[in-house]
Amino acid sequence: MGVTLKRILVIDDAATVRLYHRGILEAAGFAVSEAINGLEALERVAEAPFDLYVVDINMPKLDGYGFLRELRSKDIPQAPAIMVSTEAAANDQKLAYVSGANLYLIKPVRPERLLAHVLTLLGLSVAPRDPHQGRHQ
């Protein structure tokens, strides 16, 4: 009672990736929303800012870098962002941090790794719920 779930926005144009990340985060007790590109993500943010963002780089309409730049320019409560991409190039990582990412992870991200980083960035010592009780698969 009275406990507010931390809200996380997963932004990726691949439906399977969104489902995968959503499953991991919901099993750990987070409220997860999805967006299929940066533009849709900005619309979600306009409705209500989130506590954390998990952002892909390559997406049509507005990519992950563009989304983060727009997000960071807004006069709203800012939240950490994890950029998740298939690209390991140093330049992509640099650009991610310059755009406003707090962390850059290379896909595919193992569930325990994603969760550990999410908890750290949210300043939590444990997940709101034991992820092993409700994990997909």
Binding site: T16, E87, P108, Q137
Partner: protein, 207 residues
């Protein structure tokens, strides 16, 4: 606002009057400092298929999204082999916006892209192979499932396979089932591949 619009239109009209609309004049205008002039040049170059090289060169350095969009539209309308080769070049760019725009443009050219797909899926750069799979997403071509099956069977890079599995879940048929099961065996320790392959198998079973 209305004034700004009127001024912009006047600039465009003046530009059209001042510059020759032949190939040389348009190629020159393509590098103009004024984005409006560049946009009009890119639009009018559709009449000159030999302008593909100039369009691609400008695309690689273009910073204005609206001009980039018109260049891509012109390239897809020209739609010849040179245009596709230029778009493939864009897949190697470090500019994510340009890469994504090239992917979207290539999806519109199935017949022209198809002969290059085998080479793209065998490219030495795994990122290019991933972008090639991204192109397959909306490429209306009868070979799409076969290309994806080849990827999940032969490609050693997990993210290339992962991208192909995502798509197989949408376009795959019963034919894909053995290859998906074999992929799960190949990446037994990778939770994402297990998740994505199971999802694809479930979707295929559901028809």
């Amino acid at each position: 606002m209305a004034l700004k619009k009127a001024a912009a239109q006047a600039t465009t009209t003046d530009d059209e009057r001042q510059r020759d609309r032949d190939l040389d004049g348009l190629v020159l205008a393509l590098a103009d400092a004024d984005p409006l002039a560049r946009r009009w040049a890119a639009r009018d170059l559709v009449a000159y298929p030999t302008a593909t090289t100039a369009l691609i060169a400008q695309l690689m350095v273009e910073s204005e999204p609206s001009v980039m969009e018109v260049i891509l539209t012109t390239l897809t309308r020209i739609g010849d082999e040179q245009a596709v080769i230029g778009l493939v070049q864009c897949l190697r760019s470090e500019d994510a916006m340009l890469r994504n725009a090239a992917i979207e443009a290539m999806k519109l050219l199935p017949d022209e892209v198809a002969p290059m797909m085998g080479r793209l899926l065998a490219d030495a750069d795994p990122d290019v192979r991933i972008f090639a799979v991204n192109v397959l997403e909306s490429l209306r071509h009868p070979q799409v499932e076969n290309w994806l099956l080849r990827v999940i069977t032969d490609d050693a890079h997990i993210n290339v396979c992962a991208t192909a599995v995502d798509l197989l879940g949408e376009v795959g048929s019963e034919v894909a089932v053995p290859a998906l099961r074999a992929l799960k065996q190949r990446f037994t320790e990778e939770p994402y591949i297990q998740f994505a392959a199971d999802l694809a198998l479930k979707r295929i079973a559901a028809g």
